[in-house]
């Protein structure tokens, strides 16, 4: 009897574990807590893309993809717990969707040999593949974002912004402070005056910062915000009648959530964009047919086409394409995390590939290499129209100034390598 029970328990344990053939993509979600309105659309998009691949194509290279959700509540400790709880289930890649969690996972995942993809967030110098073997942050990082915003302002001013005033309203955290170094460099190069205005978490009260903006009248305001800080900042800008077209947020300050609570006065607000907004892409026809109409959409199914939902789709698409590349390189379908890393390092996103995936013009082409884990460093500028309730791209995808950013990345990565006794690779 005891033997039978033991056998049953062992069998049950195996049944509960992952099927050997699944390609496992952990999803560090946050569907609860103060940041849930942003976490939900990203998580929904991420899950729906893999559901589409399973339903339409039978998975990736004939093997079904399995999304392994774990709720972090945007809490760093919970994020690390999620990592520890899921890494043993053949996890292929982690996308933490939090700069704080990313920083904690970099040493752990590097030691465990599991790649991290922090798409447009996390540690900027992770773009240096010679130091950060297991970390990727393509297609663009915060320093690219700062440079792209300044390039857009340069374009608007005929290439001359000497003597102009630019203020940075930022979340007073590691995330919010990321662009400062780049902006200081660019300030020296182009001669604009930079004012730094930190906002403490959560950012519900910003009167002091916006009174200062009203007094000093900067020509442009940049924002590195997240969560409620974004809505309050846009509301305060409207209150002081700051010209919205001169107010530019990073890509984490540019979703519908950030502008809709402000109503009509948010019209004209700009933000950087990693992908095109809306659902005017052929992939949405497939999603409708294979996912939505079958009731397989993740969450409440009410986020389709939103900026952050599209970002979730994009993150999943990049993971799936890297998995395909890994299968191609190693000639096996059932890839490991180390093989996934190889696929990520050989990733090449072309316009033709994007079109074949039903995403023509959705995002710019880029490639990854052993040295460059950061992609092309491109983003577009999108602008909000409250009357139509939609974002639209108002520029092409702008390339950041690699001449300014690359030395900063190399310096930071080299310092990290020295501190952690890491030998440079890619020789």
């Amino acid at each position: 009897m005891k033997t039978q029970l033991t056998a049953l328990a062992v069998a049950a344990a195996f049944a509960a574990g992952p099927a050997a053939a699944d390609l496992v993509f952990p999803s560090l979600d946050y569907r609860t807590g103060p940041y849930a309105p942003n976490g939900i659309p990203v998580a929904d998009g991420y899950a729906d893309y893999f559901t589409l691949l399973n339903e339409r194509d039978g998975g990736i290279g004939g093997i079904r993809a399995r999304v392994l959700p774990c709720e972090t509540g945007y809490n760093t400790e919970k994020g690390v717990e999620c990592y520890e709880a899921t890494k043993g289930q053949n996890a292929l890649v982690y996308q933490p969707l939090s700069t704080g969690i990313t920083y904690q996972l970099i040493p752990k995942a590097s030691a465990d040999g599991i790649p991290i993809h922090s798409m447009g967030y996390g540690r900027t110098s992770a773009a240096d593949g010679t130091t950060f073997e297991w970390v990727f942050n393509y297609p663009a990082n915060y320093w690219d974002g700062a440079s792209i915003a300044v390039k857009h302002i340069l374009d608007l001013n005929g290439g001359n912004i000497g003597g102009k005033k630019i203020a940075l309203v930022y979340h007073n955290s590691a995330y919010g402070k990321e662009p400062i170094r780049t902006l200081e460099e660019l300030s020296g190069k182009y001669g604009f005056e930079l004012t730094l205005l930190p906002v403490d978490h959560p950012g519900q009260e910003q009167k002091s910062q916006w009174l200062q903006i009203r007094r000093e009248r900067p020509d442009y305001v940049l924002m590195w915000g997240w969560g409620v800080m974004n809505q309050v900042a846009i509301q305060e800008a409207a209150n002081i009648r700051y010209p919205m077209e001169n107010f530019i947020g990073i890509w984490w300050s540019g979703s519908e959530n950030d502008v809709e609570p402000v109503g009509g006065k948010a019209t004209g607000y700009k933000a950087l964009a990693l992908t095109a907004p809306g659902r005017d892409f052929p992939i949405y026809e497939d999603l409708e047919r294979y996912v939505y109409s079958k009731g397989l959409s993740a969450g409440a199914g009410d986020q389709h086409g939103k900026v952050l939902y599209n970002r979730g789709l994009y993150a999943a698409m990049l993971a799936a394409e890297a998995a395909k590349k890994a299968q191609e390189i190693h000639g096996v379908s059932d890839i490991t995390a180390a093989q996934m890393r190889d696929g990520m390092e050989a990733l090449e996103i072309t316009d033709r590939l994007m079109a074949s995936l039903g995403l023509p013009g959705f995002a710019p082409p880029f490639s990854v290499s052993c040295e460059n884990h950061g992609g092309s460093g491109r983003a577009a500028v999108q602008q909000w129209n409250a009357s139509s309730g939609s974002w639209s791209l108002v520029t092409d995808y702008i390339k950041s100034e690699s001449g300014v950013i690359q030395p900063l990345i190399e310096a930071d990565a080299s310092a990290f390598a020295r501190e952690n006794n890491i030998s440079k690779r890619c020789n």
Partner: protein, 328 residues
Amino acid sequence: MFEQFLFAVEVALNGFMAGVMYSLVALGFVLIFKASGIFNYAQGVMALFAALTLVGLMDGQVPFAHLINAVLGTEAHHFGWHLPAVLAILFTMAIMVAFAWAVNELILKHLVNQEPIILFMATIGLAYFLEGFGDLMWGADIKKLDVGLPQGINGWIDETTFNAFGYGFFIDNLDIVATVIAAVLVTVLVLFSQYTKQGRALRAVADDHQAALSVGISLNSIWVLVWSIAGFVALVAGVMWGAKSGVQFSLSLIALKALPVLMLGGFTSIPGAIVGGLIIGVGEKLFEFLAGPALGGATENWFAFVLALVFLVFRPQGLFGEKIIERV
């Protein structure tokens, strides 16, 4: 120099208005602490829940829609009607009264005579439950709150001060409304506690539970009453803060702004909550204006607590709190 003085006056005025907003949150804490000795950790979440309920009712949102649809396979999200703000506020109040009753029946009644720390822990549990319950009931998305409150710069003040000083002051219309509402709220609360039977009973319970019980005052009904009033105050705070940022789960964090106010004003005084809020509001804004640039900015959060601590050193019971006298 004169320009700097004008800026400082503008900052102080805005700090005054911000202080009123802090006081609105602190009031709810004071009411419950005064009547029952409970530090209600859930007050911020109550503001969130009340505001979520108000928006949900106004927009005709189906409560628990996600759960219902998942279980029944339906696609119900909206009833298809929009309630006028006044009606929705009344219904929300009814729900907050029902909430107060449930809290009393399910939690407080079973914890009579327990240590204050046990009651405090119970409200921590209540806060997390209510946050999850609100999420399940109304969803986690950010909701636009439009109850017709004016927002944006007050043109008259801007123009008048510009004509007088050559610099137009910024005062937000919403802050002016909040100040008026806070003044009315405090007046009503003071009149209620001084001149009504329930108010006197409430004060009696606040003074001495045992003595109040001995003269036939029902502790249960008083607790339901005071939690209902705190629910109403939470609704007002939720509406004011929700109008600034949309109604979302970070609204529950406004409780953080009330803590230094309570430390400074005292946990048992309604005027203390108001005066404490104003001192914190003006103090933190002026400090940010004067010292912020030299210290790298973002001084407000920590300075509010430093200011409160300085007051505590000299008056441990807070500015208006009751002096603690223990005889051996």
